[in-house]
Symmetry: C2
């Protein structure tokens, strides 16, 4: 049996471009025989290290205006529903990231991630609200209260903190980012194809 190559997909639930990636990465990866490793992180500490207290899309208005237009175009091209601009933007993503961390080895992880992004950017729901998280988990047939409880344990909090520092060590400074098994870093939804190609054949 040949091992399928792996590609780590580092995401932050508040990221618009990570939304686009999350909704298409599995189909793209399957098409080239790559397994995706879903890696939740929070960008807050990484942005703080760059001197930012929010997303650069809020700090730099021209960049922000462009981003929303770009996201609208790309979502339409991808066949996604019209993008709802979360209010506030960015959404506070810590709870969702901790739930993802609590399910890091679970078979439901990818479906949960897509559920959160869909709630946030297609439905305008507040992903910081435990009731919204519970509704997403329940729709997947999961025990929401047990998982939200597990998300709040020190162990889960520490695991997410550790993952975020691991991301920084890998050179990650934004989301989505992709890291191949040989450590090659790709940043941005528009680098997904290049990252998959590298995962299949490093350096090609």
């Amino acid at each position: 049996m040949t091992m399928r190559p792996k590609l780590a997909f580092w995401f932050e639930f508040a990221s618009t471009y990570a939304y686009l990636t999350a909704m298409r990465i599995e189909a793209a990866a399957n098409a080239c025989g790559v397994d995706i490793v879903w890696r939740p992180m929070v960008l807050g500490p990484i942005f703080k290290g760059q001197g930012w207290d929010t997303t650069p899309f809020n700090i730099y208005p021209a960049k922000g205006r462009y981003m929303w237009r770009d996201i609208d175009r790309l979502a339409a091209a991808q066949g996604l529903p019209p993008v709802v601009r979360p209010d506030p933007f960015p959404q506070h993503s810590l709870l969702a990231a901790r739930i993802a961390m609590a399910g890091i080895d679970a078979s439901w992880l990818a479906a949960f991630v897509r559920g959160v992004f869909n709630a946030e950017y297609a439905e305008g729901r507040h992903i910081s609200d435990p009731a919204e998280m519970a509704s997403i988990l329940e729709a997947l047939g999961l025990d929401a209260s047990a998982l939200i409880k597990r998300a709040g344990t020190q162990e889960t909090k520490d695991a997410l903190r550790y993952a975020t520092s691991e991301a920084a060590d890998l050179g990650i400074f934004g989301a989505p980012s992709f890291v191949t098994e040989d450590g090659e870093l790709f940043w941005g939804d528009d680098r997904l194809d290049a990252a998959l190609a590298w995962a299949v054949k490093p350096g090609a």
Copy 2:
């Protein structure tokens, strides 16, 4: 006779990603029947408006390290020579931009732009040096001293300043940027294909 659609290509000579675009945009545009309008600008004033006194690739080290790796990969994929990292980076691009401005309606403009980018990123030459500019202009069979003199006139300086404020008004905040005839803005070498497609069929 049908008019060919036009796409404005806004570039800054110090930009690494604008280098990649400059070396491939004419072939890409020809392949889909689009005419490129070459638009020199300088990003300094625009970056200053964002609170930056240099490129974000210098301000944010992780972003800078990633950018050079990304440029190496993309240049190789594009069949360009190994990228030389200009010293200093970014290069001071005002003289080159003013010469381009002096040739804004000339048939040699595109060849000059490619010549400057090639000198900078394939040969590591100093594009702020008038002797380097003269050598590029002479290789194109042009009167270098007359053009460098024209580049230094108040009229040319004003034209470049005006172009840069026009860029800001169009929403431009980085290079390369592309603007279609109906005002749609695309940012980044990785958006060239999307910009060309929009130029041919807006909104498609």
